[in-house]
């Protein structure tokens, strides 16, 4: 500890009176989560920056190798805790594809609705907090009001407000509650209102434009080189969306657009997110109109616990029950890279099965990780206040970045 302090002192003395070193984070309200960037300042201009992560590291990948396949689902809640549902869905989809399970249609439609609702709240949180950093506090209430309503819905669906663990391998843990569709209509209406309110407040706002246009520019080539995906990549002008490029869950049958930015600056990233909320609403409406009836979990005997009357009434049911409870789910030997479009970009799960009940390797491809890796390059040459605006628009969720 002592030697570090001494080193730091030498560094500051080296700065010949004009430059100073400043720590952004790891614990500051404008830095969304425990991440640290050390910057060297000349006046208020950043001349050098270096980032550090790991404050929220809990070695998810090692934990995942300890339990069985179902026990990984609660860990995935903690990845991107702003939109946990999408992590649940991404993981379950990976295991299902590895085992070749057909998920019932109703479960798929419910998954799409909860995913798009999660995308909406994730974008609302990102835009809301980003605007708070810029001093536009009112928008925060508009966006977080809607988020609160969606949280209430999710609470009624799954029993939890943040860490849902709602999906199961092969389907869902429970069906939607009565009156879900009515709540959904209200939420959609309120979301549309909130989005138009926020748009009205910021799009022609002189202060907002001055703070965001041309700030934190990421060119197309840079974005691709740094491995960006999701809204941040699309704001730079690349129309890559896993939902369109490699459709899953009938996304090819929904009518929706992929908003694309032009300049890759903070303004574009906010605007792309606002537009994606509208597109998500379109998907939800089509999905709700087509919602089929039926089971919510697959009947595949390899993963579904048999009904109670079968367990008590037949030897096959009893044996199957015992087998699943004692031995867990055992996918065949193999590897899969399954990806879904999460709120921040491509969320990939690389799962390797060695045929036992424990996953041999679970690798998460977190979209935020690559945003934050590039952050130190993006902010070079900017003002400190612009660095904060840039960070907010990248939407770093540390639970996912550090895993």
């Amino acid at each position: 500890m002592k030697s570090n302090a001494a080193q730091q002192k030498i560094h500051i003395e080296e700065c010949d009176g004009n430059e100073m070193i400043l720590n952004l984070g790891p614990s500051h309200p404008a830095f969304h989560g425990a991440i640290r960037t050390q910057i060297r300042l000349d006046g208020e201009t950043i001349v050098a920056a270096a980032s550090e992560i790991g404050y929220l590291h809990r070695c998810f990948e090692k934990h995942a190798e300890q339990g069985n396949y179902q026990q990984v689902i609660p860990f995935t809640d903690r990845l991107n805790y702003v939109s946990s549902m999408m992590n649940n869905v991404g993981y379950c989809r990976a295991v299902e594809d590895l085992m070749g399970i057909n998920v019932p249609e109703r479960a798929i439609f419910i998954r799409v609705i909860i995913c798009e609702l999660s995308r909406i709240i994730d974008h609302l949180v990102c835009v809301g907090t980003n605007l708070v950093d810029l001093g536009a506090l009112t928008n925060f209430w508009y966006t977080f009001n809607v988020r609160e309503m969606v949280y209430d819905m999710f609470e009624k669906i799954s029993g939890a407000r943040l860490t849902y663990s709602y999906t199961r391998i092969g389907g869902l843990s429970r069906d939607l509650y009565d009156g879900f569709m009515d709540d959904l209509k209200v939420v959609i209406k309120e979301t549309e209102k909130a989005v138009s309110d926020v748009k009205g407040l910021i799009y022609k706002n002189r202060i907002f434009l001055d703070r965001t246009v041309g700030v934190g520019v990421v060119t197309k080539e840079q974005a691709l080189d740094w491995g960006f995906t999701g809204p941040v990549l699309r704001a730079s002008g690349v129309p890559f969306d896993v939902r369109k490029a490699e459709p899953y869950y009938f996304y090819d049958t929904y009518d929706f657009d992929v908003p694309v930015g032009e300049h890759g600056d903070t303004y574009d990233r906010v605007a792309v997110r606002m537009e994606e909320i509208i597109q998500s609403i379109r998907i939800i409406q089509q999905c709700a109109a087509r919602m089929p009836q039926g089971p919510i979990i697959t009947a595949d005997p390899r993963i579904k616990l048999p009904d109670k009357h079968e367990v008590y009434g037949s030897i096959e049911g009893l044996m199957n029950h015992f087998k699943i409870v004692m031995h867990g789910i055992t996918p065949p030997v193999g590897e899969i890279y399954s990806r879904t479009e999460a709120a921040n970009g491509e969320l990939g799960y690389y799962i390797i099965s060695d045929g036992t009940q424990h996953p041999f390797r679970v690798r998460v491809r977190p979209p935020c990780f690559y945003f934050f890796a590039a952050y130190e390059h993006i902010i070079k040459g900017q003002m400190v206040a612009d660095a904060i605006a840039t960070l907010g628009s990248l939407n770093i969720v540390v639970g996912e970045c550090d895993r």
Binding site: Q7, S51, C59, W226, Y337, S338, Y370
Partner: protein, 162 residues
């Protein structure tokens, strides 16, 4: 897509030990020797225009005697919507090392640091090969299969990072 596939097979035929199509993951899987990785990455980026390196991660095949560590690279071609996975099997079990491709793909920088952190695989010519998620006093590499899950570690000290 077919054009890229043929081109991929033609240009990389000398260095690829095994090639297959993974239907479940919808991508080509190419197995190479670790000494070719920089050459392969350059070909993929410059000639074949795979513009995104999606991810880099390692696997510890604890029971395989000759090639225990494997580094995987996931590439994506945005124009053709096409994916390729490169598997580099590292022969040296005691001191695993492979060339860095951080100068070809910017996203490899932190991803390779994470591999080093978690598996102890050294990336030669990496611009800044330090631990990423863990602190520098940490002993061992936690995602190796022989690392016990209840291992205790020294208390971290704040590090100078700039």
């Amino acid at each position: 897509m077919q054009k890229i596939k043929n081109h991929l097979k033609k240009t990389l035929s000398g260095v690829v030990a095994d090639a297959s199509h993974d239907a479940k993951s919808m991508q080509e899987v190419l197995v190479i020797k670790p000494e070719h990785i920089h050459q392969v990455a350059t070909i993929l980026k410059v000639e074949l225009k795979f513009d995104v390196l999606i991810d880099v991660f390692a696997v510890d095949w604890f029971n395989k005697k000759d090639t225990r560590f494997e580094v995987n690279y996931l590439f994506y071609h945005t124009a053709e919507n096409y994916r390729a996975q490169i598997k580099a099997l590292i022969g040296d079990n005691a001191k695993p090392s492979i060339d860095s491709i951080a100068d070809v793909y910017g996203s490899a920088n932190w991803a390779e640091r994470e591999c080093y952190d978690m598996f102890g695989i050294r990336f030669n010519n990496h611009p800044n090969l330090k631990r990423l998620l863990l602190w520098k006093e940490f002993k061992g590499h936690p995602l190796r299969k022989d690392y016990p899950i209840n291992q205790r570690q020294p208390i971290p000290v704040l590090d100078e990072i700039l």
